[in-house]
């Protein structure tokens, strides 16, 4: 069996599962967040339950709407807080302790190798970074899981990506994600598949990079993305994991629907063009294109490692006067660490605005949205028309390194060409 099949089998009390099968499996944690959370609890009550299955394993996070920019959002947040309190949820990451839910789930050790965690938001695929099955579900599934600690799953076929070669300077996991997007097509072959990332170049990848890679598997249409747990995972989870875990790995005779190899030495900084995620080009093809807004944050690229590479590029430099740059650390913990390490100071000195941890403009419903005519260079995950606000804005997606280098000149710039 593949690692995903094994996790689904063990957590549903089976010796074996086969792709296509529907199973009810135990979930380790269930996440819900501010804008769908109240509905999730309402559904729970409709099931006739007044309590969740385990107060320590239902994780509540405020991320999409904090701090509230409108009366409507403020009222929603108040109702949300009320219902979380009423259920005496142990882990409530509200404003002041907040972060993007997917970052919180991994960073606070709520996701463990060999287990299943689900969340009411599409990027729950991120949890695969530590060797867990992470899945997005709707509020009804979440309510059922909050009631009985179980969720139904269809066992997916697994597609393996073997990544080898050497990571080139300024090339990030995001570039690999976008590269795979261009290779496979967003709306294509990977729908409903489990994507397993292995190979020497994955072994070298830090947890931040693994999170980016797994995060964007949902945008490839996949069911989940997963990196087999290894020494990097073990060290990352030390002192962080809430609960004990055993590593699960794919069997040597596991069946894969397809295996693709990517030589990462050949992957350079990469850009997805506006509107379509799989319209992907190497940065040099679009170098020189002007933009006026730069955005780095989100569950894809708002981590310390992302801010570090930006600080390296922007140290002693000034962001072009025609560019508004907004940087949003993915969580309070990221914010604090980036502050302690001096990255935020460097970025502010360069002329970036730092926003408090949240989803911000990523989904176009919170701070920093795009208006008519804006051209945004973003390190986020989606670029369809209207995603960040106006349908008359354009969104280019790329890595934090490309955003930082480009911000200096006000035009898309290959980070490999600048003098530091």
């Amino acid at each position: 069996m593949t690692i995903t099949e094994k996790i689904l089998a063990i957590n549903s009390g089976r010796d074996k599962v086969t792709p296509g099968e529907l199973v009810w499996a135990d979930v380790h944690t269930v996440m819900t967040m501010d804008y769908l959370g109240k509905q999730t609890f309402t559904q729970l009550h409709k099931l006739g339950c007044s309590e969740v299955f385990d107060k320590d394993r239902v994780i509540c996070v405020s991320d999409h709407l904090v701090p509230p920019p409108t009366v409507e959002f403020a009222t929603m947040l108040n109702e949300w807080r009320e219902v979380v309190k009423q259920h005496r949820i142990t882990h409530f990451y509200d404003l002041g302790r907040q972060g993007i839910a997917h970052q919180i789930m991994v960073e606070q050790g709520h996701v463990l190798p060999g287990k299943i965690s689900i969340g009411t938001d599409s990027h729950a695929n991120t949890y695969g970074a530590v060797g867990a099955v992470g899945n997005a579900i709707g509020v009804t599934d979440a309510a059922v899981a909050m009631a009985i600690g179980k969720c139904w799953f269809r066992v997916p076929e697994t597609v393996k990506f073997v990544i080898y070669g050497e990571w080139q300077p300024w090339v990030m996991a995001k570039d690999l994600s976008l590269h795979i997007m261009g290779m496979m097509h967003w709306n294509g072959h990977l729908i409903y598949k489990a994507l397993e990332f292995t190979g020497p170049a994955i072994a070298q990848l830090d947890m931040a990079g693994r999170m980016t890679l797994c995060n964007m598997t949902v945008d490839l249409g996949a069911k989940n993305g997963i990196v087999p747990p290894d020494e990097v995972t073990r060290q990352y989870l030390q002192g962080r994991a809430k609960g004990s875990w055993e590593p699960l790995l794919s069997d040597s005779d596991a069946h894969y629907e397809a295996v693709y190899e990517v030589n990462v030495s050949e992957v350079g900084p990469t850009v997805a063009l506006p509107d379509k995620l799989d319209d992907v080009v190497p940065v040099e093809k679009v170098a020189g294109r002007k933009f006026n807004k730069a955005f780095v944050g989100t569950c894809t690229n708002g981590r310390v490692e992302d801010l570090e590479i930006m600080a390296k590029i922007l140290k002693g430099k000034r962001i072009h006067r025609d560019v508004n740059m907004i940087i949003v650390p993915a969580s309070q913990a990221v914010f604090l660490e980036a502050m302690q390490k001096g990255y935020l100071q460097t970025l502010v000195e360069a002329g970036a605005a730092i926003d408090t941890p949240s989803c911000a403009a990523c989904a176009g419903i919170h701070t920093g949205v795009a208006g008519d005519g804006d051209i945004v260079l973003s390190a986020g995950n989606r670029n369809m028309k209207g995603r960040m606000g106006s349908k008359n804005a354009q969104i280019y997606l790329t890595s934090p390194a490309v955003v930082a280098a480009s911000a200096i000149f006000g035009e898309i710039t290959d980070p490999r060409t600048i003098n530091l």
């Binding site: 339950c49 009804t140 419903i365």
Partner: protein, 177 residues
């Protein structure tokens, strides 16, 4: 059982984002309310109150990855149900909305090539037992992929909520496997 009705055929890729536009993502789940603005982003003529619902469609026919784009919001499914949609036939469906559809008991039926034999306004007949979809307007028919037993069981219970509520009441949750 045979279900008959008028169909709307998608001309291109239909995203969850367009079925329920951004403004309504945070609205409460309520089929009647969600139906008012369902499909608002799919076509200009649907972008007014009850714009889609008033057309009286029973079926939707689409191509690949219906309701894609990666949104988990259930309004997509409840909105379509509230607008009177009894089934969606497509080459394939996006994972999240496929789940939601199963959980609410709205049949999302995989039927390769269905869009090629239908036009908006055609009368279709769907045989829920055999899975045969017949276009009564032109006489052409296609066999769809049968519904899995678990899916049928949930639909029969009136959705996952009822299905689980009964199991909780009867203390038979342990039977789930």
């Amino acid at each position: 059982m045979k279900v008959k009705g008028k169909t709307w055929v998608a001309s291109g890729y239909v995203m969850a984002y367009d079925i329920i536009i951004q403004k309504y993502w945070t609205a409460p789940i309520d089929p009647a309310e969600n139906a008012k603005w369902v499909m608002a982003g799919v076509a200009e003529e649907f972008n007014r109150e009850n714009g889609f619902k008033d057309q009286g469609y029973t079926f939707i026919v689409a191509g690949h990855n219906f309701a894609g784009g990666g949104k988990s919001i259930e309004h997509v499914v409840t909105g379509l149900m509230g607008a009177g949609i009894k089934a969606v036939f497509a080459d394939s469906f996006a994972r999240l909305q496929f789940r939601n559809a199963i959980n609410y008991g709205l049949p999302f039926i995989t039927c390769k090539g269905i869009a090629e034999i239908c036009q908006t306004g055609d009368q279709l007949e769907w045989d829920t037992d055999s899975g045969l979809i017949t276009n009564l307007s032109n006489g052409r028919a296609l066999q769809s992929v049968p519904v899995a037993p678990f899916v049928a069981e949930v639909a029969q219970a009136g959705g996952l909520m009822n299905f689980i509520r009964k199991k909780i009441e009867h203390n038979t949750i342990a039977e789930l496997q």
